[in-house]
């Protein structure tokens, strides 16, 4: 059994999104028996389109439904995008277009292989971890 706590703090300065400053914090803990994880990983994204050489983030059915993905495009320039797509569903739909510096934390069903590519060809790096119930 293992427990992961995920917290988020959203802040916006005076006059940015609204007249007054905004601040929101939230945190949730997930305890899973038989927890498995990819481990925290960092990988170069070399492919420039959907392709067998695209960076594999997660392989379908490694974990049961209710797994979680954290992913970050570590590039410092906003225009340096990394696209994350579902390699299992027909048509390889793009799920996330992550600008440089963007991160995401979200649940995944566990039954889709997720891969990443970077259209620019500049080989940005992605940081990620997936955890869930091993099966």
């Amino acid at each position: 059994m293992a427990t992961v706590t995920a917290g988020i703090t959203l802040t916006s300065a005076v006059g940015d999104l609204t007249t007054n400053a905004l601040s929101l914090s939230d945190s949730t803990s997930t305890t899973i028996t038989n927890m498995g994880t990819t481990g925290l990983a960092r990988a170069k994204v070399s492919a420039t389109a959907v392709h067998s050489t695209a960076t594999i983030l997660y392989t379908a059915d490694d974990y049961a439904a209710g797994a979680h993905l954290y992913i970050k495009n570590t590039h410092g320039t906003a225009s340096e995008y990394i696209w994350v797509y579902d390699d299992t569903t027909s048509g390889d739909p793009v799920i996330l277009k992550m600008a440089g510096g963007d991160w995401a934390f979200m649940p995944i069903k566990g039954d889709k292989t997720l891969k990443a590519y970077a259209p620019s060809g500049n080989n940005p790096y992605v940081e990620f971890i997936v955890y869930g119930t091993d099966q």
């Binding site: 059994m1 293992a2 427990t3 992961v4 706590t5 995920a6 917290g7 988020i8 703090t9 959203l10 802040t11 916006s12 300065a13 005076v14 006059g15 940015d16 999104l17 609204t18 905004l22 929101l24 939230d26 949730t28 997930t30 927890m35 994880t37 481990g39 925290l40 439904a65 209710g66 797994a67 979680h68 993905l69 954290y70 970050k72 906003a78 225009s79 995008y81 696209w83 579902d86 569903t89 739909p93 793009v94 799920i95 996330l96 277009k97 992550m98 600008a99 510096g101 963007d102 991160w103 995401a104 934390f105 979200m106 649940p107 995944i108 069903k109 889709k112 940081e127 971890i129 955890y131």
Partner: protein, 142 residues
């Protein structure tokens, strides 16, 4: 002046050594350095257990713009979930957000027919969501 999101991810027992991740993203309009400037912040009851659209399909809205979405399932019952659907004209089920859990992700629509929907596992689940966006006329014309 800026809008930021900070994630902290911690676990003492997920691996042999503790895992501690802390990262901050500063939001900018698509591909540039201009701050994000618009927000929609709502708490809603999802009503019946059918698909509900959070971000509508529209080329104008999403394909060239930057969007950030925070969603929290406000149910206190850990088995009650909402399925997040991303892209595709009918939404592709991506993950299940159980009671008390939250998700945050950037969204830049790829399929012009694509949208973001949520499907509650039962009627009456409340969610809270924050959509931070740019240059979008989200109000329907009369």
């Amino acid at each position: 002046m800026a809008t930021t999101a900070t994630l902290t991810l911690t676990s003492a027992d997920i691996a042999g050594d503790p895992v501690n991740v802390s990262t901050t993203s500063t939001f900018t309009q698509a591909g540039g350095t201009v701050d994000m400037d618009q927000i929609s912040y709502m708490k809603v009851n999802l009503g019946s257990a059918t698909d509900k659209v959070l971000i509508p399909a529209s080329h104008e809205y999403n394909t060239i713009n930057s969007n950030k979405l925070y969603i929290k399932n406000l149910s206190t019952v850990s088995t009650e979930y909402v399925t997040i659907k991303i892209e595709g004209s009918t939404g592709i089920p991506f993950g299940k957000l159980y009671g008390g859990q939250w998700a945050f992700f950037p969204y830049n629509q790829n399929d012009p027919a694509g949208l973001i929907e949520v499907l509650p596992s039962k009627a009456g689940i409340d969610i809270e969501y924050i959509w931070i966006h740019e240059n979008v006329d989200i109000l329907a014309d009369d």
